[in-house]
Amino acid sequence: MNTEFDLTRLGHFMKRQLYMNISSMWIAVVAIVGVLLVISGLVAYFNPEAVENLVPLYLVVLFLGGFIFTSKIYNEMNSPQQSYAFLTLPVSTLEKLVGAWLLVAPVFLVTALASVFILTFASATVAGQPARLPGLANGDLLRMVGSFMVTQTFFFLGAVAFRGNNFLKTLLALFLIAMVLAAYTGGLGYLLFGGGNHHLEPGSELKGTAEFIFKEVVPFLYWFVLPLFLLVVSYFKLKERQV
């Protein structure tokens, strides 16, 4: 067996994590699906034309549920009376990271999207408008899934870094980071351009640079560098974790 990464052990770890959280997961899933079913049924019955508008609601619930699920994935480690079991489990740090991430990202997404599809199908059928069903499968969905995968890594890091109330603490941390970034960029803009009116002339060097930064660099950083960076930080936080 490879001492750092073994696929069999990874599988056992994922199975264990699912079993350890199965009761709370089932309660959450049943409650959310139940509420959405009732809402979908009511909308489909009383306002069949609006059934298409249910998809954004499902996706908001999917995002929120995913963030909360991600924040709770290391609950055992964050519980003072259970952390010993998680930390002394003969599984490497890399496997603990990869196993947990696979559960909260791909496994969760596949399950949640399948649920959204079933709900959409059910509500469209009840409304007698199956033609509305393809509304789910448009290009925006892929972008939303990608966005979820990126933003979810913040909550993944929060699940490792904080020792309780991980979801709320991560939200607070994100809010603070956003404030600091806004203040920094605002301050930088003020320093560069002062209070005067500046117009970026077409073809000017500054405009070209700004376009390159915002169209090429920032998306690359957002889609690829940021999530990887957050996962790497999560790995080291997990490695350094003590009781």
């Binding site: 259970q82 010993y84 002394t88 489990l89 003969p90 599984v91």
Partner: protein, 283 residues
């Protein structure tokens, strides 16, 4: 073998707990880790199992750095903590999802231990009492056949029959490859079980001796009347009489009273240790 070399450790914003701590634990023995509240027993066990990292120094467990928490090391360690919380699943499910990580896990042994402790695999962990949960964890830990078994206050919460079952099982489970470390306040529960006594006080190891050496060098008397004062190492009131520890001058092994010994060490460790100064016990 477990070796702690020059360990320094402190909790954040608290005073130094361990300073230049050195300890070596050999296979084939049951170690009794004794000490008052806050002496550092649980912290020491956590350092050994990689749950805490030393500020400096190294803790090596079977050749591995404990703080690296390598799976190869962790599958040879099982820790039963004093306080724990188990998931609301059945014993069978717990065994099913956790035993796979321990390559030497024996289901037959587990069945035998569970039968001894009168536990059923179909039971749900959430319906068990604290003592039953503890017995289950001890049974699981033994069945992993980990070379290092760490038990923090294992007899807390156990009823009287369970304590004797515990002693019986522990004594039977030891082999030449295993190291069992038992930390406890309840020293009487460990009598006739442990091979070595390690006493911690304010983060320092103030006593570390083999039971055979103790039995050879010290005698435990429950009436000190008539014993010359020069031979008395420690004395305390016991039901109107004076009981205590005296020098064993007879040359015959005495029965070790762990409670008296612990009290004597805490009261005046240098005097007790002096009796072992010229002793070089070979394992």
């Amino acid at each position: 073998m477990i070796a702690l070399n020059d360990i320094h450790f402190r909790y954040k914003k608290k005073k130094q707990l361990f300073e230049n701590l050195n300890l070596s634990l050999q296979p084939g023995f049951i170690y009794g880790l004794l000490g008052k509240n806050g002496a550092g027993k649980s912290s020491l066990l956590k350092l050994i199992s990689g749950l805490l990292y030393p500020d400096s120094g190294e803790c090596r467990v079977f050749g591995y750095d404990a703080s690296a928490r390598k799976p190869a090391m962790l599958q040879d360690i099982y820790l039963v903590p004093e306080e724990f919380n188990l998931p609301p699943i059945s014993l069978a499910t717990f065994v099913n999802i956790n035993s796979v990580f321990y390559s030497k896990f024996s289901h037959n042994q587990l069945q035998a231990y569970l039968a001894e402790f009168e536990l059923q695999e179909e039971d749900k962990l959430s319906t068990l009492s604290y003592g039953q949960k503890k017995k289950f964890l001890i049974a699981f830990g033994l069945a992993t056949n980990a070379r290092l078994l760490i038990l923090d206050e294992p007899t807390n919460g156990l009823d009287i029959p369970s304590k004797s079952q515990f002693r019986k099982i522990m004594a039977a489970s030891l082999d030449e490859d295993k190291i069992i470390v038992i930390s406890t306040h309840q020293v009487r529960d460990l009598e006739n079980l442990i091979d070595n006594i390690v006493v911690l006080e304010h983060g320092n190891i103030i006593f570390n001796q083999n039971i055979a050496a103790i039995s050879e060098r010290l005698a435990f008397e429950y009436n000190l009347a008539g014993i010359p004062e020069g031979e008395v190492l420690y004395a305390e009131e016991l039901q109107g009489r004076k009981a205590g520890i005296v020098k064993n001058l007879s040359g015959q092994d005495s029965r070790v009273d762990l409670e008296l010994l612990f009290n004597g060490i805490i009261k005046n460790a240098p005097v007790i240790n002096e009796q072992f100064a010229k002793l070089n016990y070979e394992y």
